[in-house]
Structure formats: C-alpha cells, structure tokens
Amino acid sequence: MQRGIGLLAVLGLVLAIVVVAILGRRVTQQFEGRRWTLPARVYAQPLELYAGQQLSSTRFAEELARLGYIAQSPVDRPGTYRRRGDTVDVHVRAFAFPDERQPAQRLKVSFDEETVTTLAGDGGADVPVFRLDPLLIGSIFPIHGEDRIVVSPDQVPPLLPEALKAVEDRKFESHHGVNPLAILRAFFVNVRAGQVEQGGSTLTQQLVKSYFLDSRRTLRRKVEEAIMAFILESRFEKADIMNAYINEIYLGQDGRRAVHGFGLASQFYFGKPLSELNLQEIALMVAIVRGPSYYDPRRQPERALDRRNLVLKVLAEQGVVTTAEAERATKTKLGITDNAGRTANYFPAFLDLVRRQLREDYPENELTEAGLTVFTTLDPLLQEKAETALSAELERQDESGSKRAKNLEGSLVVTTPQTGEIVAVVGGRRAAFDGFNRALDMKRPIGSLAKPLVYLAALESGRYTPGSTVVDEPIELKLDNGELWKPGNYDMKVHGPVTLVRALTQSYNLATVNLGLEIGLGPVTRTYVELGLDDAPPRFPSVLLGAAQLNPVEVAQMYNTLANGGYRSPLRAVRAVVDAEGKPLKAPELEVTQAASAEAIYTLDRLLIEVFERGTARPAKRSLPEGLVVAGKTGTSNDYRDSWFAGFSGGHLIVVWMGHDDNAPTGLTGTTGALQAWTRLMATIGTSSFEPLLPEDVEDRWIDYYTGLETSPYCTRSAVSLPFAVGQPIPPSPTCPPGTTREEGALMLLSGFETDSADTTEPPARP
C-alpha cells in the first residue's frame, strides 16, 4: 500500500518534472527567440534640406509636426523645434541612414518666403545639404498580424517601467514570477462578483500569456502560465523581463494589424518615438495596457481619459511622480494623433507595392522576422496631396448630378521620371483603407493611352514625321474569330486625310487604326515592351485603340520612359534595405536603358505637349500654373467605362484612373474625369516645366496643323512648331509660305487673305 503511494509520488514527481521541463523549454525559446522576430520597418524618403530648395517655413513646420517634433522653447532635446518668423531652429533626432549614422544635432534653417536660404549647424557652420529623419510609414508584419517596433532599454523613458510597476505589479522587483497574494485577492473579488473582474497577474505572467496568444482563462492555462512565469524569473534578469514586456504587450488594433509593444504604440497613438513621450502620454499608454479595445483612446476617449487620470493618481500615491505633476498632467487632453478617423501616416497601397517589390529579393519570413529596415521612395507630402486631389475630384463627380458618375472609384500613381521612383500611390478613394489596391490589382483597357505607342512605332520606323498624312477613313476588319471589327471616331465623323500631329492630339481612332495597320501590329506591340512592360499585349487590331488591359502602375512604367527622354528605368519603391546590424542588403538599383531613339521620343513628347496646346487636354491648361509646360494623353475606354489620364512635367509623371469597380459606364471621358484630378494635383506640387533638349540632328520647323505643309506663324493661326530631322524636305504652304515675315503676314491678313480657314472649327476633341 505504502509502496503504491510511494510509486505514485515518484510518478507524479517525474510527470511534474517533465511538464516543467517542457513548459520551461517552450517559454525560454519564446523569450530568447522573440528578440529576433522583428517585422521589417519601412520608412518614407527623408526630407532633404538645401539652400535654394522650394520650401516655406510654414510647410517645413508642418513637416516637422508630421514627424512628431514638438514646438517648444527652448529647443533643448531631440524632437523639438522653434519657429521664429522665417527661421526655424530644430534639434534633429539621431537616425541611422543606410550609408551613415547621423547623430542628433541642432540645425538652423532660414527661409525667404518659398525658398530655403541657408542651413547652419551648431556654431553657425554652413551646411550644404541635410536629411531630416524620415517618417516611419509602417512595417511588414506576418500573417497573424503582429506589428511592433522593438526598443532597447536606453530608448525607454525611465518613467514607463516605474509606472507599469506601480499600476500593474507593485511587487515586480521581489516576486518570483507569481504574486500569490494578488491572485488570492483577485480570486475573492471574482467569486463575489460571479465573474472574472480582476486579474492578479504579474507583468511576467502577462508576458507569458502574450507569448502564446491564448486568452482563455481556464484554470489549466493559469497554472501553466504561473509555472512558465516562475521559470522565466529563475532564468532571466528582471531588467530583461521588463524590456521583453515593453516590446511584447498588445496595445491596440489597426484593421488587420495588431499593435504590439510600446515602441509602435507610441508611433500609433502619438506619432513620435517612445523616448519623447511625456508624463500624461506615458500614463495613457499604461492605461491602455489593461484593455486596448475597452480603453481605445480613439473610440472611447472619455473612458480612456478617466483611466489615464486614475493612473496619474496612482502614480502620485505611489510616489512615482509628485502630486503637482500628476495634477498638471490630469488637466491635459489625450493628445492622440488622428486625421479624421484615419490612422495618420498609413499608406496601405504604397506599402503593398513595397511588400511586392521586396518579395522579389527576400523570402517572406526574412521580411517579417529579420529586423530589416527598408528605405522607400514615398514622398509623404505628395502622397497626401495625391489622396486629396483624387478624393476631391471624385466628390465633385458625386455632386455633378450625373448618376453614372456617382460613387466612382479611382487610383493614382506619381513618379519622378529621371530617377524612376514611385513617390505616391493611391489605391482607391478611401486611401487609408487597406483593401482592394487598384493601382496594382485592377487591370483595365487603357483606351487612347495606347495611341502614343502607335505613333512612337510610326516615328521610329523613319517613314513618318509630325506632318505626314494619315487617313481618317472608315475601316472594317475581319478578325481571326470571324467577327467584323468596325471602329468609329468619338465624334462619329470621318476627317479624311489628317496630319499625324492632328490625329494624335485630337485622338482620332480611324486615323490611328489605319496608321497602326500600316506599321504592323508587331512593331506596335513591341513598343509596349520597349517602354517597360514585361509582356507584349496580344496582337489584336483592337490593341491599337487600347484594348490592352493594364494597371495604373504599368501605365506609369511605360509613360515614365516617355517622360525620361526614352530611357527606361524599372520603377522603384525601395531605395535601400539594411539588416538588423545596419549592413546594406540587396535592393533594386537605379538603371537606365535606352528604349527608343532619342529623335523619335523627342518628337513624340513634343506631340504630347500639343495635346495640351490644341488637343484633348486643352481645357486643363487654364487650371495649371502660368507657363508650366506639360505633356500627356487622355484615355477613354469603350462606352466610357474607364477614364484615364497619363501626363508629365519636368519633375513628375502622374497617372490617374477613374471608373466603377463593376465596370459600369461612367459617362466620363479622359478629359472630363481623370484629367481633372490630374490637373488638381499637378497644379499644387510645385513642379518644373517639361523642357527636353532638341537632339543633335533635329530642328524645329513651322508646319500647318491641318495640311502638314511648311508655313510661317505670321499668316496663319494653324502654324505649329514641331521637330524634324535636319534638312527634311517639307512641301511649302502655297497660301502662307515659310519665311513670311511679320510685316508681310500683317499685309496678307489686311488684304483679307485668310488662310487655312476651311477646318478651323475643330470638332470636340476625342479623349
């Protein structure tokens, strides 16, 4: 009998040892392994400051505020600044850029209205160029949605662990992982209430619980947690456990993204690093620990405020802060960053693009666990302007009275053509909504955006000039499937022989189809690949009118080549990637490849400028800054289902799509829809004119827009200056010959000799 009990006791002991060993291994692995599972952190491009830069002190102060810099005097610690008239004093934070670690430092920036005049470092030394610390725009977190920014103990304000201990676990420094008294107290409270009301968990127990993502409050879990907490305490220092807690604990939800750790929570709630939080902000974070959803300061501000003030009271009672400090903090507001219900600085469509580009070089787990830092091309200010421009235009369409244009969706992509960088991406009208990303996942027929490719193929063949005649005549084609294809013009008219420049700028369908068939579908579809697509579209005649279905980023890729002098640069969203130790890793490089002859691209670009001078984008001209030269093309797909515009200045390419998700007709052309949003944005970003240099073997000549004959600008209103190969023979206009001087022209006009008047009543432009 006694032997049986003894055996049982031994068995029980062995079992207990095994269980403890298993649990111990599990929790130790978690604890040690956790230090290495860090989602990649993603940064926007830094704001570069230099003398001569276009930037006002007001805009600069806004940028600092976006980065979480606090306006205060004196400017005595990193993350603060002071603006006095046209001078801004900043204490810039330290930041590890991919090429060097920039220490925290003082910087004085002087402005003259819209321009930076000087930058001065500490002691007044002239600084030629300076990067601000970039905006953190997110991280690449794993499928289960945990996101965090890990902080080291020196980045944690000392007040935070003190406050956590005072509120959550007063015996933290002395207990062995479990606080039996606290559990007992909680037990009685809960029994009396008949439900679980109070937790007696130590910080260590909370940490263990968080590791295994199991919120079931069964007795078995409780016991397991207690054992694991005990084991953790026996193997690790208190300081390590506190640091793990600070980086581990769940503090909020942002859609699919679970906000873990105080480092990310600080960015999520206050838009600045943890080290810069003040008393009331730390108190709020400690308040949230108890119930991130119940005390959500965005959804439940009053509840959160009450609990924060309770925390402040406890901190004063426990002597962590003085009563006066606590009282002062109690009077403050919550101070949460929030732009009208959206998470500040969250750009899901751009992050999606970054994630996809990174996946080409990195396996998923490396992105979500290896602690990489990703430096991207996003320009936060431009991104915000892009979101505003698109949503403002979509709202205008809502109110326009047209039923079909109500509740439209849209997408927008902005690049800087020379460096091939994608600086803004909008995936839908609710830009902060992490859902269907139209910039990448929506493929639509590009309509007349395809025409410049046809004309490029024509110019490259060497058989056409801007003045060449193409025939705008009806055409019927028997397709391979036996169907009859009968395209028509937008204005339902037939224009007969027209010049190349007119056919493109007015977007004539019949002329384009005839031209495309003369050149051949092979050369035309090859142009798509030359300009940057991975695959040529199928060789159907309808490709000539834009049947190819592309997403806005693909369109941007092709048009970027047109905007970049014919040099193709694979569009980049990522500039650099560094590992957890700061070592540079593989990232896409700036590449340029000549895609088409300089002469053909130059000529096409000049025709695309004419689209704004005489063609379908002419209505936009008055909404753009005086003298800004831009080039582009409208696109409308069949039955007005898609409204496109793709166009560029000297510094920026913008592609806009508008339409319905269910592909219903919008009633909009490229001109009345997408061009409007394009113009709104282009007019507000302080861009430069598109001014390509005339290639060596090309010269400008005056030709008649309607006849293509060489002419003079002094005796006709339809003279247009366009590039030709040097010495290209062009037949002269008999009525207004080339070389006619201003005086001669005036005489001719006086004598009633009006020329080329036959076709000056241009039908409405076809988008």
Partner: protein, 186 residues
Amino acid sequence: MRSTARSIVVALVLAVAAGCAAPPFKSGPPAPTAPSPSGRGPTLPTVPPPGSTTEPVIEAPAPAQLPRERPKVAPATLSPASKALVSQAQAQRKRGDLPGATVSLERALRIEPRNPLLWVEMGRLRMDQRNYPQAEAMGRKALSMAIGDSRTQSQAWQLVADALRARGRNVEAQEALERSQELAVN
C-alpha cells in the same frame, strides 16, 4: 514677294519665331555659372572664366547645308548641395563603400535630376561596380542632357569610351575617345 519669303533660310524663321511665338521648350536651359570637370567634382573653381565658353563658335558655313543654329551653352555646374554630395560620394568610393556612394549620388540626382555631370558621376560609380552596360547608358544619358555643352559632352564621351573598352569593344571605344578629345578642344 512670296519667292523672297521662301528664300529666307529656315534658321532665320526659327530665329524670328523664337523671339515671338515659340513654345517654352525652345529656349535653352538657364546658363549655369561655374564649370566642373568630371571626376574632380567639387574641387572646382567657383567663378566661371567670364565669357570664355559662352560665345558661339562661328565657322565658315558649310556649303549646300542649311546653317544650323545650335547655340553653345555654358558648361554644366553643380549646385552647392550636389557638390557636397558628389565629394562625399567620391570619398565613399575611395574607401570602397560603393553602397554609400550610391546613396550620396542618388541624393544629388534627386536634387538635380537633369544635371548631366551627376549622370557622368553615377556612370563612374557603375564602372567601379563593374556594371559597364549601365556605365555606358548613363554616359549616353548625360550626352542627351548636355547638348551644346562641349565640356560636359567630352566627359560623357570619355565615360562611354571607358565603358566600351572595359567590354572589349575597342573600335567603338576608340571612336568615343576621339569624340571626347575633339570636344575637349572646342
């Protein structure tokens, strides 16, 4: 009257037109102020030799060809910000920190994306990285941005020549080198 008008050379038409009704792309880039030899970057004189390079070279008109007005432009120069970044990039290249040099040069390119000198610098960096096709492409891109600027074109041709020679394309390299030298004398 018409025949007289027709006989006026195209260049004259263009000249008149440029003054009155030309679209903005007709005007050349604003004349920069300081010259900058390639590969030396920021260690440059900051004051241009006045008038020495801006005068168009007038030669005897070629027979049977229309005289072409291709105004010479002053050599491209770097802004103080780019200059600082280029010298930083050169220091980084010197100590073998090519990723660092890439970061610095790309920063400069974002500030002055159409400065041909920066594309020549970028091409030199690609030479260090043994990416010769890209070095050549960047040299050619610089050429397209330096039309009329013989000093910068000479540097760009030199880069193209080096990139071609590195791939054993000696005949083309020789031609590029000759163009570089011709332009250097101009």
